[in-house]
Symmetry: C2
Subunit: 659 residues, 2 copies
């Protein structure tokens, strides 16, 4: 590189302040402060090829401090990616521009992760680094040999999930993970010492990290620190001492540059200060040329890699996995045949384990784990070895008591590609991972959440551990498929659907308590329609019972009692709302006919069930916190028995008849 | 104390293993492992008086590792609290027993906090310690001079929220906070080194904590460590090296004692090992006597404190605050008069600030704060000084980028009493604090969440920052009052309701964008009914528009357009679902009449609105993630305009007419 890196960096500064000014909204301080560090990283260290954003062996770069999005947009444009264009940046934060307020992986191919919710970019990078080492262990250095780079701000490091991510990365000794900390000592409220007194390097060292440092505006110092980070076998934090808004002469170093446009006067002053004569969004040709040259510097190594891949015995399998296609053996369905022949009366968490035994045997892509509830979540199959720092080829991760960190790491693994992560905890702790579950959905990644102990059926642990509102509130997250299967067959069906779903996450809500197998014949995947008629009325149909999970068995008992009184009752099992809502009108009307009294039974909040039962229907549920007692007593106490439900149905039928 | 502390501790061990055995469910390992430490703490250090569990100046004790609940039940019983009784413990984890699976503050008066969701007990204790120092600064050593003690397990320390709590406590130098870490090197999945390699003491030191250590089974060592913790001016972590399940000869030191009954054989072996001859739940009289004597040892100092209180000029105000009664000035309503005379066109986040200016001036109990979004959440009023380690009398906390830690600390403050905490972040980050919001609700504490930027009205920051499902999913948390006010008047009304609500938390969802003041006359608090008719139809009523927050203005415009076509339309503002659902049938039927087409308008998920609009109604909402663009364009794009809504209403009316 012959060009002066300061000039290259100033191109980032100019684009960033101009775009934020044009939008009159955004965060100029971070891109301007980190421009020097990012320039060295992207022109001298980062392995990538702008002509192929999806090169499987590229380094991954995550801008965890996503509010500084103009930094990555500038870098992508300057190094020669097809998008974003200058016009995209002119339309920063405007409708239709891929240059959204925060970087979105679904808008720009080269954005590895959607960031902005603080702490999560960093934690996803840990997952990417895990996936890299795992695939390296399987496919070797020729095919998989790259790093994960992160730029993090103070907010990323202050969030709780950072502790979980740091602990996990340190424990697994992810030496390919290098985090550049934008240490500018400024947050939105002001200087960091308003709210924190932590010695951050010491904390990282305490978790097994290497910590280096540099003057973030001295290029020699930056190179030395990056060299050290690359050389060290531990995950590295580089303390980059920077000045926020560097280049804006009157505002730099203050919170005023953090989250607002600099204003025309300060932009003008910055142009003078930086001796930057070009008009907004106009880049000097020699500077663009130097950037493009730097962007192209891995073209040859990419070619070499392609040749290695072409010659590799692993080629087909490696490409299949990186493209996210399932293994062929998956389609056979032997397990369903076996279940039909050998009905299982087991908890659905156990049914999930049985399904996983079948899945993991034919699908090497899965990496399981649990947040310290392995034996309770039934997430570990017999042949799974742990993934450890000594053996990254393992397929099971002991995540520790780090629910949020686990979920974020799984997002990172799925974003990296080549693996299908699944992980377990109690359903109640979906609240702990909720921000990451939302990002799974927004990022459209195949992550599978195995959430057990899904109701008051958890029993004695009591209300702190009994999910009441969780299933319903998860159903509201757009693009999240929430499954609550009723037996071993549905559990296997939901697993199949979750694996086949390549553009979004799935969550399985599973019981602690045993459930009978309700379906014994061999059928199509009925769960795929979201809801289906499990039992048709014998007498003239007056009632449709709609239930999920453990309450389907109760619905069957209730239907039996009603039929005993000559009242015909369908039972509909509804493992997945969103799939049912996607069915055509005719199917939905057939399953939930308007002329019958509709009753939902689910051991959780009733809010939302009006959608299916209507104003005259009945929603049997639980709109309060649970209690500590054995499960059967709780179901009794809260009215989840046929004896309690039948009179309510009779009363409703009577009222309906009266009207 | 003349009794051998080992004998006292063995009473805890016996009760714990017997109760878990009787329930055949629970966690014996922790109480047995920490029995020696807890005995020394409760008989020699903890300031409390079992005859008055609510003595305002008692030390607070939080069992953050709540799964070891038999530890605290044993301690309360042995030191002489009225509850739990031996029978309560016999019924451990059974229906109706106050000895629930995890300690619940609403079942036993002497349980300071509901714990079990890991990490949160510790983080609540930080809030208690803040409240103590704050009240000490206001009321002096005579009235407020106590410590906060915590027993934490490895899980508490691994959770992300621990990092936030540790950072906050270190920054504020809460020297009265002493955490006893049950360092038994075992988690549910097995040895801690399966999942973590952290040097925990170094991490705490890096955040400004004192770290001591002891052999958790050597009484001299325990006393020395506790003396050091008390003497040190910093918050203290005491590394108590313990053996999980100490006393169970074959299982101690293994995960087998963690979460399951020991089994009759091992209980028998433990009795022999401990030379403990008594039958289950039968305690030797001399041991009970020694415990009771220790429990009574602060009776005199409690008497002395009572005398100090009686003589104090602060008495009335101190007692008012500790009892949670509002100041008299609150009732006057001057601010409502002012609003009626001076209508404000402001964002509801700004309206919240205006209301807070009025509230904070007359109610000294409030302690505000924000997770690094002070200027955006509008949570700081002019006269509020920061609460800092130099000045605990301040009434504003810069929580840093620690949403979950903030929420948990607020729970602790409210549990301590004497203060009313409120804190802000963006509504989207309610997901980060959700586990603590749930615990606010379960614990029935007055915590007020100020959640701003409550819809796509947030604009350019895009989908990672735009709440879509949050308002609705928060409504599902039992006992949480969720408010979405429509203008400055409703915002003030909701603030009044939140402050008056002593037995539960409230959450205000507030806009970034300006809204006109819709009500200008002086009325009763109409928000208190949850929903009310803001505008009555002029033409014959055929339509009722139900809206919340920023969409109420849109509902008014839509109603105007309908009336222009001769279609009468009511507009109902519905700031709080749960309050509306609590109204009588007649009121509800009057507000939402069955003979009109009902339409909800809310810029969030439609799921749930079927409750009020019925199967033929219309739910105008947003069932997908948002996008990055200016707010007005987003509202336009997603159909939140009268022009888009009116045709949908006309079509629905036509269909209704056709039927």
């Amino acid at each position: 590189m012959s060009a002066d890196p300061r000039l290259l960096a100033n191109a980032i500064r100019a684009l960033s302040m101009d775009a934020v000014q044009a939008a009159n909204s955004g965060h100029p301080g971070m891109p301007m402060g980190m421009a020097d560090v990012a320039t060295i990283l992207w022109t001298e260290y980062l392995k990538h090829d702008p002509s192929d954003p999806k090169w499987h062996d590229r380094d991954r770069f995550v801008l965890s401090a996503g509010h500084g999005s103009m930094l990555i947009y500038s870098l992508l444009h300057l190094t020669g990616y097809a998008r974003p264009t200058i016009d995209d940046m002119r339309n920063f934060r405007q409708m239709g521009s891929p240059c959204a307020g925060h970087p979105e992986n679904f808008l720009l191919e080269a954005v590895e992760a959607t960031t902005g919710p603080l702490g999560q970019g960093f934690a996803m990078a840990v997952g990417m680094a895990i996936a890299e080492r795992h695939l390296n262990a399987l496919f070797g250095d020729d095919l998989v040999d790259h790093r994960t780079w992160v730029i993090s701000g103070d907010g990323d490091l202050m969030e709780g999930v950072n502790h979980e991510a740091v602990g996990l990365a340190g424990h697994l000794q992810l030496g390919r993970l290098n985090v550049l900390w934008d240490n500018n000592k400024i947050t939105i409220d002001g200087p960091t010492d308003l709210s924190t007194s932590e010695d951050i390097p010491e904390r990282y060292r305490a978790s097994g990290w290497h910590v280096g440092s540099c003057d973030g505006h001295d290029f020699g110092s930056i190179r030395r620190a990056l060299d050290e980070a690359v050389a060290d076998p531990r995950p590295s934090l580089v303390d980059c001492r920077t000045i926020i808004g560097w280049g804006a002469p009157n505002k730099m170093g203050t919170a005023a540059t953090h989250g607002a446009a600099l204003g025309p006067d300060e932009v003008k002053a910055a142009r003078e200060h930086l001796v930057w004569d070009s008009e907004p969004f106009d880049l000097p040709e020699p500077i663009v040329a130097a950037w493009r040259e730097a962007g192209a510097r891995h073209r040859q190594s990419h070619e070499n890699w392609r040749a290695l891949l072409a010659a590799s015995t692993h080629r087909e399998e490696f490409v299949r996995r990186m493209e996210g296609r399932l293994a062929e053996g998956m389609a056979k369905g032997d397990y369903f045949d076996w279940l039909a022949a050998n009905p299982q009366k087991v908890a659905t968490r156990k049914a999930s384990e049985l399904a996983l035994e079948a899945i993991n045997a034919v699908l090497p892509d899965t990496i399981g784990g649990s947040a310290d509830l392995t034996g309770s979540n039934n997430t570990k199959t017999k042949a799974q070895k742990p993934l450890t720092k000594e053996d990254y080829s393992g397929r099971y991760i002991y995540y520790g008591i780090r629910e949020f960190g686990m979920a974020a790491a799984m997002n990172g693994m799925a974003l990296h590609g080549g693996v299908i992560p699944y992980g377990g905890t109690f359903l109640i702790f979906s609240d702990y991972c909720r921000p990451a579950i939302r990002l799974s959905a927004l990022q459209q990644v195949r992550v599978i959440y195995v959430m057990t102990h899904d109701s008051i059926g958890l029993g004695e642990d009591g209300p702190t551990h009994q999910p009441v509102e969780q299933v319903m509130s998860l159903r509201m997250i757009p693009n999240l498929a929430v499954y609550r299967p009723a037996d071993a067959v549905e559990t296997a069906e939901c697993w199949a659907l979750a694996l086949e779903r390549r553009d979004g996450p799935s969550l399985l809500a599973l019981t602690r308590q045993n459930l009978p197998q309700l379906r014994t014949g061999r059928t199509d995947n009925l769960s795929a329609r979201g809801a289906y008629r499990l039992r048709a009325a014998s007498a003239v149909r007056r009632v449709v019972l709609i239930a999920t999970g453990s309450e389907v068995e109760l619905a069957l008992r209730t239907a039996g009692a009603l039929e005993g009184q000559g009242i015909g009752a369908d039972v509909v099992s509804m493992p997945c709302w969103s799939l049912f809502d996607a069915q055509d009108e005719a199917y939905r009307a057939d399953i939930l006919p308007g002329d019958a009294l509709r009753i939902s039974i689910e051991a959780g909040t009733t809010m939302g069930w009006e959608r299916y039962v209507g104003p005259r229907g009945l929603a049997v549920g639980l709109d309060r916190f649970g209690a500590s007692a054995p499960a059967e007593e709780l179901f009794q106490r809260f009215g989840f028995t046929a004896e309690a439900i039948v009179p309510r149905i009779l009363a409703a039928l009577k009222m309906q008849g009266d009207q």
